[in-house]
């Protein structure tokens, strides 16, 4: 049962892939923020906030799911669903905090960065995990 422990082969591999994807997404966020900064300061920090709003809940979800020791299907499913609920709660809290606390805010760069990071996530997951490309 060594594969089902938190340090199991598949979990370790997935953790490595996910860490790499987060690194690429962080660099991408900084690049978008810098490009937006050329337009205006507001656009720059709005883009950065969009990236943070994406990265924080996803990092929490990845940490929660990939660091647990559940090896039964029931435990794995519970971890996933509870992690997903918390991810949604954190996303909503982040968006609410940004819209209430940050003034002035430029919504276009914020959502552009958020949506681009989601698309980048799709692309990187497909690219990194070649099992999906064989389907």
């Amino acid at each position: 049962m060594s594969n089902s422990s938190p340090g199991g082969k598949f979990t370790r591999l997935t953790r490595k892939k996910v860490t790499r994807i987060f690194q690429i997404q962080t660099v991408f966020t900084l690049c978008v923020a810098l490009i937006s900064l050329l337009h205006s300061v507001t656009a720059g920090y709005s883009a950065l906030l969009g990236g943070v709003t994406y990265l924080v809940p996803n990092a929490y979800f990845a940490w929660r799911v990939l660091s647990r020791s559940s090896d039964t299907p029931r435990g794995v499913l519970a971890d996933m669903y509870i992690g997903e609920i918390w991810k949604m709660v954190i996303t909503i809290a982040c968006f609410a905090a940004v819209f209430i606390l940050v003034q002035p805010l430029s919504p276009f760069p914020l959502f552009l960065t958020f949506v681009l990071l989601q698309i980048l996530n799709w692309y990187l997951q497909m690219k990194v995990d070649d099992r999906f490309l064989k389907l």
Partner: protein
């Protein structure tokens, strides 16, 4: 003006509600298939868990964007 505000909140509610339905159906199906796979081949649970994690990220992307736009409508537009 109040009617316009009410319509904005209604739009946000519909947006987030439909996003929640989509996410619930997608993640529910995913969980069901995971349990099916785990029941057939329990030794594959670690592999299925990794795939489950990856596909969950793909499924909940669009609902998350919907939630973000809904929050924008409620807090910034209304």
């Amino acid at each position: 003006m109040e009617m316009a505000n009410a319509l904005v909140f209604l739009a946000a509610a519909v947006l987030m509600g439909l996003a929640a339905i989509g996410a619930a159906v997608g993640i529910g199906n995913l969980g069901g298939k995971f349990l099916e796979g785990a029941a057939r081949q329990p030794e594959l649970v670690p592999l299925l868990r990794s795939n489950f994690f990856i596909v969950m990220g793909l499924v909940d992307a669009v609902p998350m964007i919907g939630v973000g736009l809904g929050m924008y409508l409620m807090f910034a537009v209304a």
